[in-house]
């Protein structure tokens, strides 16, 4: 019961923040130099047609009125239409969300597993050269641009070695996408046992996933190393060891108590990737949310950008909530 109350309170607190985010997005986008009505009617339209189109789109009304309409539409489940494609934004998001989610979910899994294992290895062996190596890797991965790494990897693995397909899109041109189940090409092709599509989708995933993993694993490794190391040196673990408990059990204690900050960082990383993989998507012509938003900003297409920012904000609040809930499970002492 207290748990539902905690969740309800958190969701209520999120509402004013999300509203504030929609206001800021709305205002920034209306300052964009493009005029969507002009883009739609073309350069040869008469002023009357242009006015009619502006009236139709509602862009001739005062900003507060436009914002009011936007919010009331939003509450009715209408996220607006893209002025470029004239399709509802929700449809376009549905098309592109799986591409991004497939990419960042797989990357996050590798980041979490790899980061946790590497961090544990360093904390357990306490080898100096491993420690140095991790620090060096952290510095390098944080310094080189992710789009540069993406390009370098595709040069090596596509042009030099020829092991992987060209870095363009999610499938080879001659391969048809698998039957739509979840929108994740790898999962769909496995479910429908379409092996050609699976091989193609998987080989196209490798490079972008590798890029994101290399860039974002460092944080988790360092966090795991320092928290587990601290825990292993704590009185609690010294006591457990003094009682004669096997190392395996001591490690379990240390890990369980060191987990909360690691979980937080993992949640943060996943939320960050949702908007932060834009450049990698661009390099690999990945038809996901990131490239959609960049193109929409450039075209002064308001609705998709508003929808994306709203989606990202909501996703981030949700991720924080889930992270906090897992804290409650991991650490029963916490109160909510």
């Amino acid at each position: 019961m207290r748990l539902t109350k905690f969740i309800a309170r958190r969701l209520l607190l999120a509402i004013p923040q999300i509203l504030a985010i929609t206001v800021v997005t709305f205002v920034i986008l209306r300052i964009l130099p493009g005029n969507p009505a002009y883009e739609l009617v073309g350069p040869f339209a008469t002023p009357d047609t242009l006015n009619a189109m502006e009236h139709h789109l509602g862009t001739d009304r005062p900003l507060p009125v436009q914002y009011g309409t936007y919010i009331s539409d939003l509450l009715h489940g209408n996220w607006g239409d893209s002025w470029f494609s004239t399709r509802p934004v929700t449809d376009e998001l549905k098309d592109r969300l799986p591409a991004t989610l497939e990419l960042i979910t797989l990357s996050s899994l590798i980041i979490m597993l790899g980061g946790l294992l590497a961090g544990l290895l360093v904390a357990l062996t306490r080898a100096r050269f491993l420690d140095r190596g991790i620090a060096f890797y952290g510095l390098l991965s944080g310094s080189f641009p992710d789009f540069w790494l993406a390009l370098a990897l595709s040069y090596i693995f596509f042009f030099k070695l020829g092991w992987l397909p060209s870095p363009t899109g999610r499938l080879d041109i001659e391969v048809n996408p698998p039957q739509h189940v979840t929108g994740f090409y790898t999962v769909d092709s496995l479910l429908t046992q379409n092996w050609t599509a699976f091989r193609s989708a998987f080989s196209h995933l490798i490079l972008p996933v590798l890029t994101l993993s290399i860039v974002y694993t460092a944080g988790i490794v360092k966090m795991t190393r320092s928290t587990v190391d601290e825990m292993l040196r704590s009185n609690m673990c010294t006591y457990a060891r003094a009682c004669g408990l096997p190392d395996r059990v001591v490690l379990r204690y240390a890990l369980r108590n060191g987990l909360p900050p690691i979980l937080t960082l993992m949640g943060l990383t996943y939320g960050y990737l949702l908007g932060g993989d834009v450049l990698v998507e661009k390099v690999f012509s990945w038809n996901g949310l990131g490239s959609y938003v960049v193109d929409s900003v450039v075209r002064a297409d308001y609705s998709p950008v508003q929808a994306f920012v709203l989606l990202a904000a909501m996703a981030n609040f949700l991720i924080y909530l889930v992270v906090d809930l897992t804290h409650l499970i991991v650490d029963p002492r916490l109160e909510y």
């Binding site: 923040q17 641009p145 040069y155 042009f159 450039v298 002064a300 994306f308």
Partner: protein, 288 residues
Amino acid sequence: MIVSERITQRWQISNKRLPFLLGVVIVLGAVVMAIFSGLIARYGPEDADASRILLPPSTHNWLGTDINGSDIFSRIVWGARIDLTIALVSTLAGASVGTAIGVWSGFYFGRPGWTGWLSDAILRFMDVFQAFPIFVLALALVSSLGRNIYVVIYVLIALQIPIFVRLARSAVLHTRQETYIESARCAGNSELRLILFHVLPNSLTPTLVNGSVVAGQALLLTAGLSFVGAGVPAPTPEWGYMVAVGAPSLITGQWWAALFPGAVIGVIVLGFALVGDGIRAYLDPTTR
């Protein structure tokens, strides 16, 4: 004996500070490159020779030429002016404004009356600002305000202020409850004097340590914006834009046009990070 001991001693010290020194050398090297571009570069920033397209690195074109026939080495050197100016100016301005706001709001946090209320409001506002995906926010701001160097700098300042507000604020929350602040207050110092001469100087460590890292991040963001074509306008020698120009030739084997400018970005950001680490190690008595 004594001499060899001295040498090892000296070597040990420099060994510990080697990363920091490397960082300083990189950053200073970049600054020298920016100041003396005209002397170091063999060609002008926008010189192009259509008969010398995509030539591999040679003794004449040290880092090769790009698709327009421009010398990549020269453009990288000229690019230092653009990229370093953006990164350093925006970080200095962002750090000054952000620290001022952060120190003020940290000092008055929890006070009754309008000061406490404003301090809280500032924090909430920064929360909203930071909830945005940072790259998309930067992209939207730059596209809406116009694509030129000044706008990129203003946008970066706006994005960095919340970072520095947080750094200064959390440091001040610790500092303000120190005994020496209390005694300074008892000695009759005014609030303004307390903030300026007692709280502020004792709360700058996190800002100094992170400032260098933030400058590196600003450089990465600038390059990223230009990479998608939304940063500094086209023919300007900007490193991110140079990577974008070189990218299409990469999958046909001409790697130098994209990979050299990007590597320069990486090395300089690395330099900033090493300087930050060095300052951290110096200011932290447990690792000194």
